[in-house]
Every structure is written in C-alpha cells, then in structure tokens.
C-alpha cells in the first residue's frame, strides 16, 4: 500500500487516541487547509488573478480553519484571528519590497535541469508568487502564536476583570516572549530539514561562501527564514494589543 496513506492513517489514529474529538477535528483541519492551498494555486494559474490578493484570502481562510474550526468561536479565537490577519498584511508589505529588490523569485541555476523541459514564459508574476510562498510558510506559525497569547490573556482577564489595558498588554508581551524561542526554533528546524539536501549539495560541489550567499536559492531561503522569524515575533505585540483592546472594551460595557 501507499506510504502516504499509511502515514496518514497512523497520524489519524494517534490524533484520535490522544485528542479524541478535537484530535479528529485537528486532522480534518489539515485536509481542509490542503484543499485551500491547492485551490489557491489553481486560481493563481489565471494570469489576471493577483497572487498577493489570493494569498490574503487564503490566509484568512486558513486562519479561520485553524482557529475557529479547531477551537470554536470565542473572544480569544476572534482576537487571535484579527491579529493573525493584521500581521500577515503588515508582513506582506515588507516581503513584496524585499523579494522585488533581492530578485529571489522563481527558480535558481541549481534547479535549471529540473525545469528545462518546461516553458518558462507562462505569464504569471513570480515575484508575487515568491512573496506568497514566504507568507504561506509562516501562516501556521503566526496563527499558533496568536492563539497561544490570546488564550492565557483571556484567562487572566477572566480571573481579574479589573486589570487595566496596559497591564493586560504587558502580560501578553510576557507570555509571548516565553513562546518566542520555541516558535522560532520550530520554523528554523523545519526549514533546515527541508533544505538539508541543498546544503549537502553546496558543500559537495564546494561552493565558496560568496557563491552560496549570492545564489538565488540560498538567499531566498535565508530571507524566508528571517521573515518567518520576524512574522512570529511581530505577532506577539500585535496580538497582545488587539486582545487587550477588545477584552477591556468588552469587559467595560
């Protein structure tokens, strides 16, 4: 039987054993997210569709699935959702500027062999696709950080309803700082793992440092890693602020 099928089945069984109903929902969420991703790619094939706007719509749907479907609709998921989208919009703005200037879009020389059979003049702006890739690879981590901050903030507000907005914000920041190390680590190792083959390739073909740093693939990868880190870090103050604002506003009514 197919390897992917069995790995998927084992994951499903484990998730249900450990998480029960919520585990099953978490597993289904992966499927829904996969569906959103494929659908987005299919729409991106239309030359007139703007990949940046599509990425924004996809991020919104993905955050909805990861937050509302798995955790239900509540104050904490709503503020986490708003914060995730805000972070994505701000991040996207910077990423587009950088991908355009650093010219890291599309394929590098190292990939020439793999793409030689294809027509490359396909009428789709790869600069925007490049920006979309960076956002999409971070969206999971952004929503995760957002919910991890908004959830304890709501708990604290629940136990101390008289807490000031400023103190609540400070509490959110503190929570976020504790998460920062592990969240960035999660992303870094994921990137390291998927580019292990590339690193071995560079070393095997004895690329010099300057060749590596200036090569399209490596610099694209490094810039993606840095932006992933920036994304996770900036989610912290954004979520703390948004959650503090909404909780206090709602509580005072």
């Amino acid at each position: 039987m197919n390897t992917l099928f069995w790995l998927g089945t084992i994951l499903f069984i484990l998730m249900v054993l450990v998480g029960g109903k919520k585990g099953a929902r978490s597993f289904l969420a992966i499927f829904f997210n996969f569906g959103v991703l494929i659908l987005t790619i299919l729409i991106m094939l239309i030359p007139k569709a703007d990949p940046i706007i599509l990425t924004l719509i996809a991020s919104t749907l993905i955050s909805c699935i990861s937050l509302f479907y798995i955790n239900g609709v509540s104050t904490k998921t709503i503020t986490a959702f708003i914060s995730s989208i805000a972070t994505v919009v701000i991040l996207l703005f910077f990423i587009v500027i950088v991908t355009e200037n650093a010219m890291i879009q599309g394929f590098g020389e190292e990939e020439a062999e793999g793409i030689s059979a294809f027509s490359l003049y396909i009428g789709i702006d790869f600069v925007k696709i490049g920006a979309s890739v960076i956002i999409m690879s971070t969206i999971g981590a952004i929503t995760d950080t957002a919910i991890a901050i908004s959830s304890p903030m709501r708990e604290i507000f629940h136990h101390h309803p008289s807490i000031s907005r400023k103190d609540l914000f400070a509490f959110g920041l503190r929570m976020g700082r504790d998460l920062l190390g592990t969240s960035t680590n999660t992303l870094f190792f994921a990137f390291f793992g998927s580019y292990l083959a590339l690193l071995i390739w560079f070393k095997d073909l004895s690329y010099s440092i300057d060749q590596i740093v200036n090569s399209k693939i490596f610099s694209a990868e490094m810039i993606a890693i840095f932006f992933a880190g920036i994304g996770v870090a900036s989610t912290i103050p954004i979520t703390s602020w948004v959650t503090a604002y909404f909780l206090v506003k709602k509580g005072r009514k």
């Binding site: 879009q105 020439a112 490049g130 971070t138 960035t184 994921a190």
Partner: protein, 378 residues
C-alpha cells in the same frame, strides 16, 4: 527628560550590549556595500538601462507572456578594469521565473569578454546578482525585531539559531569528509546536541528542561522508528524521489535525515510546552494528584496538537508552490503534478505530525516521572 531617566535605568551591561549591536550593524552594512575588492568575480553596477525590444510570445500551451530586451551600461567595481564601463544585454519575461529585470543601481556579477580592440568599450555577459546586502538587511531586521520584542528571550533565540546553524554545518562537514559514517548516525548525534543546546538556552538549567529534553529525544526516535517501519513495510510506494532536487548523495538517507531535523523543532516545542505547564501546575499546588496532572496535561496536549501540525504542514508544502504552478501551466495533469511534487513534502509533514502527537503522551509521562522523583526526594 524621559530619555535621560531611561538611560539611567539601563545598566552598564545593557548600554554596552546596545553599543556592541550598533557597531556590528554599522560595520556589516558598510562591509557589504564596499566589499567588491574581496570578490574574485567581476562586479558591475548598472548605471544606464535602455529597453530596446518588447515582443509578445505565446508558448505551446497558449500561455501569453512578454519578452523584453534591456541594453545595460554598467561600471566595473573591482578587478584590474575597475571604473571602466561595460555593455551588457539582458532578456527577461514578464513572469521572471528564470530571468531578471534589472534596474539602475543593481549590482551584477559579470564575465568580461576578451577584448580585441583596446579602444572599444568592454562587453560581457551577466552571471548573477549580488544579493549579499539583501540577505544581510533581512538578517538585521530579524535580529532587531527579535531583540526589540523578545528582549532577553529574543537574544537567546538568536544565539540558539546561530549555534544550531554552525553545528549543522559542522556535522555536514564531518559527514562529507569522513567516508563510512552514516548520515543517520551523524544526524542522531546532532539531534541530541540540537535538543540539549536549544532547550537549555531557551529555558535554562532546571527540571522542566531536563524532562523536555528526554521527551523530545524519545518522541523523535519513536517517530523515526514508525516512519522507517512504514516506509519498509510499504516499500516506499507513492514516494516520488525523482523530483527531489539537489541530490549528490544517496537520496533516501538525505530525505530521512531531513525529516528528523525538520520535525525536531516542533517536537521540542511540544515537549517544553507539556513539561513547563505540568510543572507549573505542580508548583502552584504541591499536593496535586497524579491523576489531575494527567487530565490537565492531556487537555493542554489537545490544544496544541492541531496548530503544531499545521505549522509543519505549511512550512513544508509552501515551498513547492512555484514548481506546482510551473507544472500546471505546462499542461501537466493535476494528480500527476501533485504526486510528483508533493509526495515527499507530505511524507515529511505526516512524519512530523506523528512525532508531534506522540510527544504529547511521552512528554506527559516523562514530566510526571520527574515530578514523582522530586516528590520521593522531598
């Protein structure tokens, strides 16, 4: 006034740290902007661009695109002919999948044609773009954001990233230069080092960290075992290694090693979340029953499971988007495109997910074991 008060509040150590960061930033930015003499390859800075030709093209799959030809005059920035002008031509498409549109101010690596005539201008071809300054810029924005938001924790995560990268690079050197040592063994040792270093750096020397280290290692090796067994049992049907890029070594081993390094961060995250929250409950109430700890631990695990698997899923799959678009635009059938490009990424994500979910009970029981030991001592 406020600024002065703040300055007074800062300890000397902090001022020293900020000064050090400032100096590093300035020095490195200056360096990448003026490092041309250090390059062996000739670098030229674009000073004038003329668009000479625009053509509409339609490929065999009815995709419409436009081709542009640029005539570029650039000035050499290094080498014997520094300061001389060089004429270059460049063709690019509006999709820019494998070509670039250059602008005035861009710095390019060029090769200079051997010149027959002393008086005529130099000509050459473009070899690549000097991207080092952009990588550096992104790195600094990253470092400053982490420091500004994360303060001490931000600094520690930067250090942990740097140490882990150096370690990985060193481990790969060892693998490449000593024949006979399996990549999996080297990865096994590296995983132990990565885990110990990252968790100690981010969480310090305490029992929470020790429990997390043990849980991470158990979780990672258990998921390695399961994935390996499944791959053996199904004889890797459905995994399309032919699209794996950059392969200079036995590809299966490289793939497996990538799977485990890739999921390690997520597994560590789960392990430390489990151990610190369970220890947190224990510290609040020393007499809490093991049963209550188990119940709360499982609740926490349920909460993080979904989002953690999502992180890995997106981090892995997104990188394939450009290739998927290229395939589909070249009239490849959807299922073929997906299985060619995503089978390995999906296997990675699923194996990582298995690691994450298994680490929840493993982390729970390891932490409870540490708490029991602590109680027995007390």
């Amino acid at each position: 006034m406020v600024w002065k008060d703040k300055l007074k509040k800062m300890s000397q150590k902090q001022i020293l740290l900020y000064a050090l960061i400032g100096i590093c930033l300035a020095a490195s930015v200056l360096f990448v902007h003026y490092n041309h003499p250090f390059y062996d390859r000739p670098i030229a800075k674009v000073i004038k661009i003329e668009l000479t030709d625009t053509t509409k093209v339609t490929d065999m799959h009815e995709n419409e695109d436009r081709l542009f030809t640029q005539r570029i005059i650039a000035q050499l920035k290094n080498g014997d002919q520094k300061g001389r002008l060089i004429h270059l031509t460049n063709q690019y498409s509006s999709s820019k999948a494998y070509d670039q549109q250059y602008r005035v101010g861009d710095e390019l690596f060029v090769s200079i044609d051997a010149n027959r005539n002393e008086n005529s201008h130099l000509t050459g071809t473009i070899q690549g773009v000097k991207r080092d300054k952009y990588v550096l810029m992104a790195a600094w924005v990253f470092i400053l954001t982490l420091l500004l938001i994360g303060k001490k924790q931000g600094l520690l995560s930067i250090i942990s990233l740097a140490v882990n990268s150096i370690l990985l690079s060193y481990a790969l050197d060892v693998y490449l230069h000593t024949s006979g040592i399996s990549l999996l063994i080297i990865c096994g040792i590296s995983i132990i080092l990565f885990t110990t270093i990252s968790l100690l750096l981010v969480n310090g020397f305490n029992e929470k960290t020790y429990a997390a280290i043990v849980a991470t290692l158990l979780g990672t090796f258990m998921s390695l075992l399961i994935t390996y067994l499944v791959m053996q049992f199904t004889s890797e049907q459905g995994l399309r290694y032919e699209e794996m890029q950059f392969v200079t070594r036995p590809y299966k081993v490289v793939f497996m090693a990538g799977v485990f390094i890739g999921s390690l961060g997520a597994v560590m995250d789960v392990a430390i979340t489990m151990s610190s929250s369970i220890f947190g409950l224990y510290e609040k109430n020393n007499n809490i029953s093991i049963k209550a700890l188990k119940a709360s631990g499982m609740e926490i695990g349920k909460d993080i499971m979904g989002t953690m698997t999502n992180i890995l899923f997106f981090a892995y799959i997104s990188g394939s988007i450009p290739m998927l678009i290229l395939y589909l635009k070249n009239a490849s059938p959807l299922m073929f495109t997906l299985s060619m490009n995503l089978s390995l990424e999906l296997a990675r994500a699923l194996a990582g997910g298995i690691g994450i979910v298994m680490t929840i009970p493993i982390g729970l029981y390891t932490t409870i074991f540490f708490i029991k030991r602590k109680r027995a001592r007390a």
